[in-house]
Amino acid sequence: MKAKAIKNIFVQGSISPELIADSIRKHAHNTGIGGHSIFLGQVRADEKPEGTVSAIDYTAYEDMALEQAHQIREEIFAKYPLTCMHIYHSIGLVPAGELSLFVFTSSVHRKVAIDACEELVERLKGELPVWGREIMGPNQYTWKENR
């Protein structure tokens, strides 16, 4: 038995709308797909006591994060009859208003794609060893906390 290769999920800096369009476009040849569900995480310019967030600087324990993402991917594929699944997460600096997470599921039927995407987003948020440092100014930052 050959183990599946571990895919990279990390993108340096923000995720561009072009990457998303390209990813969507690549699925046109797969004419068995009936529905795609996409989640995008965008960096908010939150007001904090230390100032307004201008960017988030993401760091990760990359080796572990890729192993975790691989494990989550396998479990979601086992649970839902998906045609495709794609995960992209930013590493490094992402300015407010730009995208840091892109999760994409496709299936014959819409409900499967939608349910799998939602579960995938929740699991990635909870289980990937990734940390966001919210930058307010040259020497001002706080460590982001997921709710």
């Binding site: 995480g41 993401y58 760091t59 990760a60 324990y61 080796d63 572990m64 192993e67 997460h89 840091s100 997470l101 987003v121 990635l124 948020k125 909870g126 289980e127 990937l128 060893p129 990734v130 940390w131 966001g132 440092r133 460590w143 982001k144 906390e145 997921n146």
Partner: protein, 80 residues
Amino acid sequence: MDGQQITILAFGKVAEKLGSEQLKASGFEDTDSLLRWLHDRYPALKEVDFSLAVDRKLVAGNTGLGMMCEVALLPPFSGG
């Protein structure tokens, strides 16, 4: 544990408290003894909440350490 090589990786807020992202250690049978040593040496660690991973797997409770291992100190995740 003669010749043991433990790589300790610290991330986020924990790395800040430690003043370092990577340490080497040896001579620890399990995570509890390693943590006692870390807390003695870096008292600021008490101020942060973190989990442990051994060889890239989260561990709960005391866990044995092999001859070559990677122990990571992980503050609460905040990706996405």
